[in-house]
Symmetry: C2
Subunit: 454 residues, 2 copies
C-alpha cells in the first residue's frame, strides 16, 4: 500500500535540453530535398519554422539552454513526479523494482506541452501570427492549442477526419483553448482537394493532414508549421523527462537496468531514454542498462519496417529523411492508440535502433489494454492507450525478472492519462477490439513503394 513519489524542487527543472546528436559516434544521415534529393540547408526549412527552431533542428551542441519564459510555464506542472509502483510490484509478485515517470500531470494530460510551449514561444519571438499543425488522436493538437492560448498565437489544426468525427471531445478541448479545427482532408488546401477528388470518401490520415498543414504554412508568410514528434528539435524538448528522471532515480538511490518507452513518432520515448543513453555513449553511466522501444503490432515501424529514406507525408511535400518506415502510403489499422499510428519514426530514434542501442518490440492492443486495466487497479492512474504499450513492456520485464529470480530496476515513461480515451476502454470491456497482424506480403507491398534515393 506504500506508493512512493519522488518529487524534485522547481529549481531542478532542467535549464538546458539535452541533444543526443552531440554524443553519436556517426552523424545522422543528411535530410534530402524532395525534388533534387540533395542535402538541404537551413534555408530550405525557413518557410516552415522560425530560425531558432531550425538552429535546434541541425544543432550538434550537447546542451541547448531553455529560455526562462519557457521554464516559467513548465513550472505549472514540472518537475513531473516519478513514482515507485509498489502496488503493481506486489500484484505481479515480482522481485523487480518498477518506477514510472508520469507526464499526465500537464494541463493537456500528456507529455506534448513539453514541446508545444517552446515551439509557441520561439514562433512568438519571431513574430509569427499563426501556427498550422496536424493531429490524429488529438493529444498534440490540444497541447499546441494550449500553448497558442498562452502566447496569443492563432492555432489551426488539421484533424484526421475519422478522429474529427469520432472524437468530438478532443475537438471541444482544442476549441475551448481557442484553436480552429478542420477535418482533413479538407477543401481548404490543394493537397486536401486532390485527395478528395481521388477518394471522395477519404477518412484521412496523419500523412494527409501533415500535407495540408505544411502547405498552408508554406504559402502564408504569417503562418508557420508545428510538428508534435519526429523532428530533432521536438525530441530535444522532451528530454526534460529523462533529465528529471535521472535526478529522481538518484533520489530513490536506484538506477535502471531497463528503460521502457512507447514509440509512435518517437518523442516521449526519446524524452525518457536519450539523457540516459547519452551518458552511456559518453562512458559516464553508473552501470549498463537496456532500452526497450514498444510499438503497436498494428503499426510495426521499427520491428517490420525498413530503415530507408522516405517522405514524412502523403503528398510528398516534406523533405526525405532516413528513418524506419512502412512507406508513406501505408495506412495503419484503426487502433485506439492513435498517437502511435504513424508510418515513419523519428530519424534520431531510427538511428539508435539501427545502431543497436535500443531493442524494439511490438505488442498487440488487447494485451496492452489488459496491462492498462491492471495498472489502473493497482496504481490508480488510467493510462492513455499509447501509454499502455509502455506499461505492458514494463510488466513483461517484471515478469521476466520473476521467472529469472532477478531483482532488476525497471523505469518506464507513462506519457499520458487516458481520461480522454474512455471510448477505447469501453470498447475493450465490451469485447469489441481485435488484434491485427499484417501478412509478410502486405508489409512487402507497402515497402515496395519507397522512393529510390542515391
Amino acid at each position: 500500500m506504500d506508493s512512493v513519489k519522488y518529487l524534485l524542487p522547481e529549481s531542478d527543472i532542467p535549464s538546458a535540453w539535452y541533444n543526443l546528436v552531440a554524443d553519436l559516434a556517426e552523424p545522422l544521415p543528411p535530410v534530402l530535398h524532395p525534388g533534387t534529393k540533395q542535402p538541404i540547408g537551413p534555408d530550405d526549412l525557413a518557410p516552415l519554422f522560425p530560425e531558432a527552431l531550425i538552429e535546434q533542428e541541425v544543432s550538434t551542441e550537447r546542451w541547448i539552454p531553455i529560455p526562462e519564459e519557457v521554464r516559467d510555464i513548465y513550472r505549472q506542472w514540472r518537475p513531473s513526479p516519478l513514482f515507485r509502483a509498489r502496488r503493481l510490484e506486489k500484484a505481479l509478485d515480482t522481485p523487480a523494482r518498477i518506477y514510472y515517470k508520469y507526464e499526465g500531470v500537464s494541463p493537456s494530460g500528456s507529455h506534448k506541452p513539453n514541446t508545444s510551449v517552446p515551439q509557441a514561444y520561439y514562433n512568438k519571438q519571431a513574430g509569427v501570427k499563426r501556427l498550422s499543425t496536424e493531429t490524429g488522436a488529438g493529444q498534440w493538437g490540444s497541447s499546441l492549442a494550449f500553448a497558442g492560448a498562452l502566447f496569443g498565437i492563432e492555432v489551426l489544426v488539421y484533424m484526421v477526419k475519422v478522429s474529427y468525427n469520432q472524437k468530438p471531445y478532443r475537438r471541444a478541448l482544442m476549441e475551448t483553448y481557442g484553436a480552429r479545427v478542420v477535418a482533413s482532408p479538407s477543401e481548404e488546401t490543394e493537397a486536401g482537394r486532390a485527395i478528395i477528388a481521388k477518394h471522395p470518401d477519404s477518412t484521412g490520415s496523419l500523412g494527409i493532414a501533415i500535407s495540408e498543414a505544411v502547405e498552408v504554412a508554406a504559402k502564408d508568410p504569417e503562418t508557420k508549421y508545428a510538428l508534435g514528434s519526429v523532428l530533432n528539435h521536438v525530441l530535444l524538448h522532451q528530454t526534460v523527462i529523462g533529465l528529471e528522471a535521472e535526478k529522481q532515480m538518484a533520489m530513490a538511490g536506484d538506477y535502471p537496468d531497463v528503460i521502457v518507452g512507447c514509440t509512435g513518432g518517437g518523442s516521449n520515448f526519446a524524452g525518457i531514454a536519450f539523457p540516459f543513453l547519452g551518458r552511456k555513449l559518453r562512458g559516464e553511466a553508473e552501470k549498463d542498462f537496456r532500452i526497450v522501444a514498444v510499438e503497436p503490432a498494428a503499426c510495426p515501424t521499427l520491428t517490420r519496417g525498413k530503415y530507408a529514406y522516405d517522405f514524412g507525408d502523403t503528398a510528398h511535400l516534406t523533405p526525405l529523411v532516413k528513418m524506419h518506415t512502412l512507406g508513406s502510403e501505408f495506412v495503419p489499422e484503426g487502433i485506439h492508440a492513435g498517437g502511435l499510428r504513424y508510418h515513419g519514426m523519428a530519424p534520431l530514434v531510427s538511428a539508435v535502433v539501427s545502431r543497436g542501442h535500443v531493442d524494439p518490440r511490438a505488442y498487440h492492443q488487447l494485451a496492452c489494454f489488459e496491462a492498462g486495466v491492471t495498472f489502473a487497479r493497482t496504481e490508480g492512474i488510467l493510462p492513455a492507450p499509447e501509454a499502455t504499450h509502455a506499461v505492458k513492456g514494463a510488466i513483461d520485464e517484471a515478469l521476466r525478472c520473476k521467472e529469472e529470480g532477478r531483482s532488476e530496476t525497471i523505469l518506464f515513461n507513462l506519457c499520458g492519462h487516458g481520461h480522454f480515451d474512455l471510448q477505447a476502454y469501453m470498447d475493450y470491456h465490451a469485447g469489441l477490439l481485435r488484434d491485427h497482424e499484417y501478412s509478410s506480403e502486405e508489409v512487402a507491398m507497402a515497402l515496395a513503394g519507397l522512393p529510390s534515393v542515391g
Copy 2:
C-alpha cells in the same frame, strides 16, 4: 506569463483532519430518526457505517489523526499545488491577487479521493467486503471505485439513470477500476422497484440512487454505505485542502480577503473554507476575511431553499437533518454541473451559512462556462463544470476589486478538471445550453412538502 506554483513537501501533508464542530459557538441541531423524529444515537448508524466513521461523524474533537496508511495514499497526489493565477489577473486587468488550490491532480481528477480513500480504509479495517454508493455526474463513483480497487473492497454504484445513459465514459472509468455500476432506479432494490412501478420512465435522481444504495447496505451485513458529501465525516476528510492552503498562502507571503468555493453537497467548499473559518472563530486569524459559497441558480439550495429538517433521499430511508433544502422531492433542472444538483446541503455548511459566517451566491450556468473558457485560455486548465462556479465567483470578486481600485487577495478552490465533461463544453460552444430560473411559486411548492418536525 509568470504562473507561480506553491508546492509543499510531502511532510506537510496534514497529519490530522480539522473538525469545525469543535469551534462552533452553538452545537449542531441533532440528527433525528425518520420514524420517531427523536435524536438518533451512534447505534442507529451502525448498519450503514463502520464504527470509526460514526465516531468521526459525531465527534466534537478539533483534530482527528489521519492514519499513516491513508497519508501513504494521499502522497500519490498530495500536497496538491496552489497557484497564483497571474495570467488570469493580467487578462482581467485587476489589482487583485488570485490564488487557486488545484484538486484536479488526483487520479480521478477531483477532490473526492480525499474522502473515498479514508472511507475505504476504515471499512477495510472493519472487515467490510462491499461498499454501496450513489453517483450523479460520476466524480464520486469513480473516486470510490479507485479507493475500492486499492483496498480490495467491492464497489457497487447506483448511477442516476440519465447519467448512466448519457455519460458512458464515467461508467467505463468506474468499471475499469473494477466497480459494478447499476442504472438507478433499478429492479435490484425495493426502493427502485417502487419508483419504477410508479414512474416506469423515471430517469432517476440522486435522492433515488441514495435510497437504493442505503437499502442494500441496510439489508446486507457485509455491505456498508459510503457517501461522497453532506455528512460531517466527509467534510472533515476534505479539510486537507484548506490546511495545505493555509501553509501555501504563508509561503506566498499572503493571506486571503475572500475565500470562494462551489457548493453542491458542500464538501469541497468545506474543505477549503473550514480551516480558515475555524481560525477566525477561535480569534486566531491573521486578519478578517469573507467566505463566499457559490451554487447553481438552477439548484439554489442556499439562496432560495429553507433551513429546516429534511430527508437526504427520496424514499425517506435516511435520518432527518437540519439543512438548507429545496425539499427531498425536488428534481433540479438538468444542468451540466451534475455534482451540484442536490436538493439539500451539508448540515455543517448550512449551519455556518445560517449563522452568518458564509455569504451564499447563485450563478447561472452560461456565465459559469464563459468563466471556465476564460480560465482555460489564461491558466491552461479546463475546469469541471462544478468548478466553473468557483472560477466565476473569483472572477467577479476580482472585477469588483478593479472597480473599487482595491488590491485584495482572493483564494478559490478548483475542485476538479473538466476532462470528463467535454460534452458540456461542446454544448456550450454550440449554443445549446439555457439558463433556468425557478419561479417563486415553484420554489414555494417544493418547500411545502417539507416534513413537519417538533
